[in-house]
């Protein structure tokens, strides 16, 4: 077991993989935070923008579709990450472990 661990840690492909995956998750976290804080800062600083109507003669304000989009975007982002992690990343991970166990 210790052998396997040492071999994985020594494998440059492992370090590369870990770095790549960490960068990806941090970028995704920043994107989701940006979407949320973008919305909150609009609420704090530019209420008029959110209050304007979606079109002539409409009651619905532009804030409603934007708000709902933030929710939908958050859900989509989560699924995009999980899809990639559960297929591509897990496959690389498994290959690395197999390689070290040889």
């Amino acid at each position: 077991m210790q052998d396997t661990l040492d071999r994985i840690t020594a494998n440059p492909k492992f370090l590369e993989f870990v770095a790549m995956r960490s960068t990806y998750s941090i970028i995704m976290a920043i994107v989701s935070a940006a979407a949320y804080y973008g919305f909150i800062l609009l609420v704090a600083f530019n209420k008029e923008f959110l209050a304007q109507k979606i079109g002539e003669g409409y009651t619905m304000s532009i804030g409603v579709p934007i708000g709902v989009s933030v929710i939908v975007f958050t859900i989509l982002l989560t699924w995009i990450y999980v899809r990639r992690a559960n297929t591509e990343f897990d496959a690389i991970n498994e290959a690395l472990i197999k390689e070290a166990q040889k």
């Binding site: 949320y36 909150i40 409409y58 619905m60 472990i97």
Partner: protein
């Protein structure tokens, strides 16, 4: 399990008696409504069904591992529903739809805030938690650290968070049941306490999870039915719904724009931080990551949880507007004395409940009332289980009685469950007349300033040491509590100091207390050159390997 059946019979008898007493009581108390038999019968069916599941779960719960994690055999989809169930509390269902009913758009801003913590957990924590942990999040935080100090910290922070969250739920439960079922506050508290203890005591995590899943399905189905009924009234056109709402609501067009919910940018960012990172520090949410067999399922659970919670918040927005169009035009049925000026019967949080009656009659009202009660029960059960595992696993088995057997550990968790259950009932009764609105927010602020920074730094920062994590965690915990006490919502609204005397000017302490925690962890760790610290840094690569690959991760302790 004869005893078990007897307790159930006793409970049902008590519920009926409680209702009967309530029916005979005078109607002087404004909040209390006539005994709602449909709701009581539906709730009794729910309790009967879930206790039956508990009986089955009890036969599966033999070891400490079964008690904490349900044997690790829950799928990602099931766990996602359970997590969503933990998160969709009665407070968020009734509170957010009530907020939309009163202020329109502001309710949407609020609900978005409650959703944003989930991507953070998915991207940064889920798989590392699963790979490093076993029963509690302290397993993760203390992986390469000195066990005793880290676990004492983790257990203290968890218990403080659980206590505040629990008081808010218990007081909410009592008030709600008073309105919905027409039952005395005290009976309601005791009933919640006993049923919840039975779930946890006999069925452990398996029962707690299944209760949560059933309740989540009922809540999602009920909310979907309400939202669709509302939209059907307007030919499935949200625009027509909004137009009607703006026409009948006293705020008119202001319903469609952001109002006074956010008063200054610092408060806005601070509240956002508490919600975003607090979720990743709530012990009753974190423990759910150890019930799935591997990291793949852990990720799937958060994705499902995010989906259900997001969907649910969109529904509550429609429900809030549906309440505006349905209730305001029928003040005779839904308002105190039939007058708009006197407010909704049972208070502003009852908007969704009244809408249930408007769109689905008494039967559906009974269903939604039962779901609201079930929600509180399930959330309180989850909180109790996480408090019990903090005591039995982190304090007893890892600090005070190292090397104890699984049976001994299990016994301690059951004793703790009873203690926490009694404490919950006592606190719920003691805080009946208190203003507890700030408590859930406080729990989030503490979580994002103590558990989250410690977890994050111990897993992701190589140079973090025991000393840094523990000192920083306690600094975050203390500053979160002290600053919250100094804010208007506690200093003025709860402690009765004159208006304007609050010495902490913002809505939420998170931006300061969380920064203080991270800074202290960093500073103390950097200055820590002890032999222990060197050893801990040297262990980082092996921790990283396990957290990234899952090699050596605690597997599903199935049968």
């Amino acid at each position: 399990m004869n005893k078990f059946t007897q307790i159930i019979a006793g409970l049902l008898a008590m519920a009926v008696a409680g209702g009967a007493i309530a029916a005979g009581a005078d109607l002087g108390q404004t909040a209390k409504q006539a005994t709602n038999w449909t709701a009581i019968v539906m709730f009794a069916i729910f309790v009967g069904g879930t206790l039956y599941i508990t009986k089955w779960a009890a036969s599966q719960t033999k070891s400490a591992a079964d008690f904490y994690t349900g044997g690790g055999g829950i799928t990602g989809f099931q766990n996602g529903l359970a997590i969503a169930g933990d998160y969709m509390s009665a407070a968020s269902f009734l509170g957010i739809s009530g907020l939309v009913f009163a202020n329109g758009f502001d309710g949407l801003i609020f609900s978005i805030g409650w959703l944003v913590g989930w991507p953070v957990i998915t991207f940064l924590m889920a798989e590392r938690l699963r790979n490093l942990g076993k029963f509690t999040f302290a397993d993760v935080a203390s992986y390469r650290f000195a066990q005793t100090p880290v676990r004492i910290f983790a257990a203290s922070a968890s218990l403080v968070i659980v206590a505040f969250y629990m008081i808010a739920q218990m007081v909410g439960a009592g008030q709600l049941i008073k309105v919905l079922f027409g039952m005395e506050y005290m009976y309601a508290e005791i009933l919640v306490g006993i049923v919840m203890m039975m779930y946890v005591l006999f069925g452990g995590m398996t029962a707690t999870t299944w209760v949560q899943i059933i309740k989540a399905c009922m809540l999602l189905a009920g909310a979907t039915f309400m939202a669709v009924s509302v939209l059907l009234q307007f030919g499935l056109s949200p625009e027509a719904l909004f137009t009607k709402a703006v026409e009948v609501h006293s705020k008119h067009d202001a319903l469609m724009s952001p109002g006074a919910l956010i008063k200054d940018p610092i408060s806005a960012i601070s509240v956002g931080m508490a919600l975003m990172f607090g979720t990743a520090g709530l012990p009753h949410i974190l423990m759910r990551f150890f019930t799935v067999p591997n990291a793949k399922e852990a990720r799937k659970s958060v994705a499902w949880a995010t989906t259900w919670i997001g969907y649910f918040y969109i529904l509550t927005f429609i429900i809030g507007f549906g309440a505006i169009t349905n209730l305001i035009q029928n003040p005779g049925d839904f308002y105190v004395g039939g007058e708009l000026a006197k407010g909704l019967k049972g208070g502003g949080n009852m908007a969704a409940v009244h809408l249930a009656k408007a769109v689905g009659g008494d039967l559906f009202l009974g269903f939604i009332s039962a779901v609201a009660f079930a929600t509180i029960l399930a959330v309180v059960a989850g909180l109790t289980l996480s408090g019990a595992s903090a005591v039995s696993h982190d304090l007893y088995a890892s600090v005070f009685a190292k090397g104890c057997t699984s049976e001994q550990e299990l016994r301690v968790s059951k004793i703790t469950t009873v203690c926490l259950g009694v404490l919950a009932v006592v606190l719920g009764i003691a805080f009946e007349k208190e203003n507890v609105a700030y408590m859930v927010m406080l729990a989030f602020v503490i979580a994002c300033s103590s558990n989250f920074p410690v977890l994050f730094m111990s897993v992701l920062w190589k140079n973090c040491t025991t000393r840094g994590a523990v000192v920083g965690g306690f600094v975050g915990l203390a500053s979160a509590v002290v600053l919250t006490v100094g804010s208007a919502s506690v200093w003025e609204a709860v402690m009765g100091n004159p208006k304007g005397s609050a010495w902490f000017p913002y809505n939420s302490a998170a931006i300061f207390s969380m920064s203080a925690a991270f800074f202290t962890i960093w500073l103390v760790s950097i200055l820590d050159n002890s032999a222990q610290a060197q050893k801990e840094r040297a262990l980082y690569p092996s921790q990283q390997l396990r957290s990234e690959t899952g090699l050596g991760a605690s597997g599903a302790s199935g049968h």
